[in-house]
Subunit: 344 residues, 2 copies
DNA sequence: TTGTACGCGTTATCAG
DNA sequence: CTGATAACGCGTACAA
């Protein structure tokens, strides 16, 4: 539906000019007299004319818009990222198109395809948990689509990336539990194919290693659907809790897994931290406020969005091809409220 | 940036056909032979051709996309609504463009303007807390833009609307507190210009009235920024708590106000419900799980998105002008976990 | 300095 | 049944 029926043609007719004169005047071309420009701009202003972005896109082959792919905006981390993205994009005159994968590889492929058809000028993407190969990104990338990865990145494409310091997050969380006197520390986490899982796991392992603690393999639980499947986490918890060498503490990754774990422990009437200590990633800022027994690792979503977008605009706007790519690592923060978590 | 360089012109050239034949074959026109259709479709399939939606929009004057205006996707209620919207829109072949007002009237006006320039076929909107007049919607509406309001609606435009049963939500919450033995019940809520505030307030008043309880005016606190300003809520709380006839219970509306109140009470080391009982609206599903002393009123965001979109598609797709409009009222749910909240 | 003509990719109309 | 042509709104060589 096209409102704002006003087109440059209308203006031209009204002002007895040609469309190209109007177009040029509007675009402040040097080949138009100041006087004509004034008249045209005044008229445009008065009738608040704005060029039809669809026609512009078709003509110019680019759309002044950037595509976003995240798993789900219900995750507050990602909605914070999006706010960061928007704040930068808007002030640079770019629009954003948000798509969600809901952790499905198929949807990710579809979304990327759809965004490309929308003639986006660049892509900001955080991979789905299901994503194992990224051919759907490699082709557009080779064709020149600027891509910046954030949060969940891929090694297989050389471009700018923004990540959180997941190694340190995993390390700090585990280290904190160790310092509090726990040694049997389990880990419930997302599938190992996404980068954040591996990085956090590495931090967890390092902390244990440094403390001379060795844990059995079955202390590490990968949830294939990244916490979307409550049953999966429930089984993991049940398995852990019925072990002979039952863990004393759990380190969970991802907002979804953390909150679901919290929910389940609550349902099972298992006291935190008396019966089991818990430290987890969460951006649901409330979690650690509401349940002071939960400590948390927090990722700065807004800042990540800002940085990623700055990098992307850089790629889009740069005249000559970029050859130097950087991976920006943002600090994660550990919120320690687990005063009662010290083992005694 | 236009990838998928493949156009119908390319196909036509390759197949030695005319563009119009290809176009018609692709659109399964009856005036094309089955054989030609087969050939064209096979080729299109093989090279996974998809028509350029931008060109289609330009040509057809509509974009197969609907605009969404919400306050902020960080509010999980709205991200749930959006998921509901997407589920319906996508299966009908429509795309969605999400915009946020961050409770700013100016941004709302800007967003609506931007969406119209994007040639959206319809608009789903939940008003910002700042919005007092809706001229920016009346003009497009008069010009024929299908609009469906959800959650925060306006009386001044006659169209389909989907709301939650806010009166009952306010009534039930208050009634529950009364039944639990509380009489001095305060109310911290959003500005009175948005519909949900007034409806909830009416429910609150009715419940008190029915119980023969009269409360002083200063028990009702309107927070002008809808909870975005922590200080405002802090002052409200401080005022309430330092009253001689200090309230025994508080009923809060909106996710943001509820969680901020919870946060502040926690910070002030005020025990819930021993020192003050709390019942509040929240869609941060965690809140009532994590803090069993908080009861909550829950709004079904996903369903609201679904219903609103169905109504909108109805308007968009209906051939003759619609004259009968309906306001759908969805039930809100009250989650009572406040076992310890009974006053004794 | 201004105007004309064409093309972006698609669809609709009309002619063959 | 198929093909040429115009049009959507804009921008830009090129011509005047």
């Amino acid at each position: 539906m096209n409102f704002n029926a006003l087109t440059i043609r209308d203006i031209a007719k009204e002002l007895n000019l040609s469309v190209s004169t109007v177009s040029k005047a509007l675009r402040d071309s040097h080949e138009i007299s100041e006087n004509t420009k004034k008249i045209v701009n005044a008229y445009a202003e008065e009738h608040n004319f704005r060029p039809n972005p669809i026609a512009q896109s078709l003509k110019q082959g680019h759309s002044k818009s950037i595509g976003i792919v995240v798993s789900t905006i219900e995750n507050q981390f990602f909605s914070q990222v999006i706010n960061g993205i928007e704040s930068v994009a808007y002030s640079a005159g770019f629009n954003v198109i948000i798509t969600q994968t809901h952790e499905s590889f198929d949807l990710e492929v579809k979304n990327v395809g759809h965004l490309m058809h929308r003639s986006i000028d660049g892509l900001l993407i955080s991979l789905s948990t299901e994503t194992k190969n990224i051919e759907h990104l490699q082709k557009p990338h080779r064709q020149g689509l600027p891509i910046v990865f954030f949060d969940r990145v891929s090694d297989e494409i050389e471009t700018h990336k923004v990540i959180a310091d997941n190694f340190k997050g995993g390390y700090d969380a585990t280290h904190h539990l160790i310092e509090s006197g726990y040694t049997r520390i389990a880990h419930i986490t997302s599938p190992p194919n996404i980068s954040i899982t591996r990085e956090r796991l590495a931090g967890y392992n390092r902390a244990l290693e440094e403390a001379g603690i060795s844990i059995p393999d079955y202390y590490i639980k990968h949830c294939s659907h990244g916490g979307r499947d409550e049953n999966e986490i429930e089984s993991a918890l049940n398995e852990l809790l019925s072990l002979e060498d039952k863990p004393e503490a759990i380190f969970t990754t991802s907002d979804r897994i953390t909150t679901t774990t919290l929910y389940l422990l609550n349902k099972m009437k298992i006291k935190i931290p008396e019966e089991i200590a818990l430290i987890g990633y969460t951006n649901t800022m409330l979690a650690d406020v509401l349940n002071p027994s939960l400590s948390s690792v927090y990722q700065p979503g807004f800042e990540m969005g800002v940085k990623a977008t700055e990098m992307l605009l850089n790629l889009i706007l740069s005249k000559r091809p970029v050859t130097e790519f950087q991976t920006l690592v943002l600090p994660t923060q550990l919120f320690i409220r687990m005063s009662t978590a010290r083992k005694n």
